[in-house]
């Protein structure tokens, strides 16, 4: 067994509204000298440390957590999983 750090990034579907991201983009960045910015999307990242045989198993384990415990709601969110050594 090896310890892996798995990063799970959960974000709203692209078509969904993101009030927090919009506010950061419009009220903070654009108004304060970062006119190059035209969009900000927020997301939630979970850094999960877990034991697994290999990378694939670590990823599968994280995937199961997300699905079975509804860490992401399939209707509202998309998620990605990255395994770090």
């Amino acid at each position: 067994m090896t310890e892996y750090t798995v990063e799970v990034v959960i974000e709203s579907k692209p078509a969904a509204k993101d009030p927090e991201g919009e506010t950061i983009a419009r009220e903070l960045l654009m108004k304060n000298g970062f006119g190059q910015v035209h969009n900000v999307r927020t997301a939630k990242m979970l850094k999960v440390k877990l034991e697994a045989e290999n990378e694939e198993q670590a990823k599968n384990l994280a995937e199961r957590m997300v699905r079975e415990l509804r860490l992401a709601n399939p209707v509202a969110h998309i998620y990605s999983i990255n395994v770090k050594g």
Binding site: S12, A16, N73, V75, A76
Partner: protein, 734 residues
Amino acid sequence: MNEKKSEEKENAAEPGTSLTPDEQKEVRKRLGREPNALELGMIDIMWSEHCSYKSSRPILKMLPTTGGAVVVGPGYDAGVIDIGGGWCAAFKIETHNHPSAIDPYNGAATGIGGIVRDILSMGARPVALFDSIHFGSLSSPHSRWLLRNVVKGIGDYGNCIGVPTVGGELQFDEGFERNCLVNAACLGFVRKDKIMKSDTAGEGDHIILAGGSTGRDGIHGVTFASKNLSMESEGERPAVQVGDPFTKKLLIDATLELLEAGLLKSLKDLGGGGLTCASSELAFKSGGGADIDISKIHLREKGMSPYEIMLSESQERMLYIADDARKAGVIAILEKYGIRYAEIGKITKGNYRVLDEKGKVLAEMKASLLTEAPTVDRPTKELKFEGKCMKLNKDISFALGQLMASENLCSRSWIYEQYDHEVGDRTVGKPGHDSAVLLAPNGGAVVVKLDSDSLWCNIDPYKGSAGVVCEAYRNVVSCGGKPLACVDNLSFGNPEKPEVMFQFKESVRGISDALKALETPCVGGNVSFYNEDEETKLSIKPTPVIMMVGVIDSLKKLRKCRMNKGEKLVLVGETRAEIGGSEYCRTILGAHCGVLPEPDLAAEKRNGEFVLANWENINAVHDVSRGGIAYALLEMCVQADMGAKITLDPIPMSGKEHVREEDIVFSETHGRYIIATKKAEELLAAAAKAGVPAAEIGIVGGGKIEIDAYQFKLQDMKEGYGKALWKAMEHNKV
């Protein structure tokens, strides 16, 4: 058909149509030609069940909607009643069942957002929120996931916009496992001379769309709500709407300032059916049409088609109508609040038209074609679940212990302790009591209660629905409120099934008869059909929710409803051995059937009026409803943190000889109250004079609850009643 347009958009929502062949024929007849894709899409959404009430409208005519305190009845964004002193209360209830079933947090939050806009649209300041939520069993992880997130969604949204959530109800029934119900309600106050309606716009007035940007979220929301939920609901669905309470807070403040400054001729919120619904209804009610230039609308995404723009149900949007002279003033206020807006067109005397930036007409029809959908006369087929309840010999001590901690009767403090119910400083009757009591600007108070009972209404939709009205009436009376009017929210299964249509018709008939007898007209409401599990084809149990509103004219009449040691307990109203469909049957016997208590509407009104008329001789009062006398007594004891002793012998009953104890203490006969009083003699004399059955049944005091020879430690009961929901939710995180 406009083929070129659909080619442009590869990822555009497909117009398609859910109109029946007959309806499509009707469209062609009224239009005098083939509709193009945009027109068909707009008609499709406006003629959906959700927007048009095509199945329910003919039946809803049964409801009494005028008289008494009614100022604005059904047909507008919210009902309005006169509460005296030049002030009115505007209130409304609406479901957000389908969105909440797939994304409970955002679904419930946007449900709150939508109902708040309805109150604003009448020119009223929203001051209180309420919820009536229904889930499958508490033992199911999915139901707990829904419950946890729905409660958080409601609480967060209300908290952000500074409107307290002051009351509601929670029920569990296995029928809601996949199709939960989330009813959100709101109440606001408005001066009588400041009420706004959506029928006051005139030719040449400017239409200003303000608030959140228009995106692809929620397209087909209402056609989605007019269909059943299926497995493909997961993942495949268009994005659900995400609530944005901070934008909403700005909209609320700006709207109230616009109203105060007298700058608006009319206003309307954008909800189901989006811009199409809001603008066509406003134009139609004002007797005209509108020209809408869709190129002016601020969009969230690039490349949105006219179809998507007109049908988007993005949240936090309002339409303001202003004439030439006052337009600049409206814009100045919107800019002050940093609210995005667009002048999207004008009210006209002609047709309702959608134009592009070059003035090319993309859609044109009479506004009435959109707003006046043909009704459907759906067949009905009788369906009842009466029949005999099994009788088991379970003695009272076992049953009471079980009932107190049961999922449907235990304390709801796990929910309302998550809500901010104090903000605004108006909440004098707090959650956990019979009704919510709010200080009103006229120096009095309003009393509000939401009630429903899917089990009753499933067994017998007529008696069950009338019974729900009676229960709401009693709850308002128990807080000293004189019930004035109500709104209703009717959640049912698929209306294309004759059995569901039967339930609907019987339910509305039951509500109507009760409202007529109690003289509390219905000033608005909402119907939600197609609450059905696509896989099992099971409809939910019929669930009409009644939001009853009453008034207290003097703050001297406010009661804490806390009984004191030594006070006598008086039972008002006759008890019958009506155990069918009771909580005792459901929880102890596992029986979801039986003959329901007969709502005696005349007695209900007489007994309620008796309680109000003798208010000064009453210290604490609680209505007897679910769980019967035993449960009502227990709640009073928990509230006061004090025991009591009652005897069953004096209880007014006809034919008591052959009745078992549990039939007396758990009977759910309507029209009853338990009163704690220092003046039992005066009260009983008044009852005798008024012809109201009443009797002294016990005395307050001690650390035990005693019913004849049965004894329960108050501490045990408090523990079971108070902690059951907490235990279920906190010990099972999923």
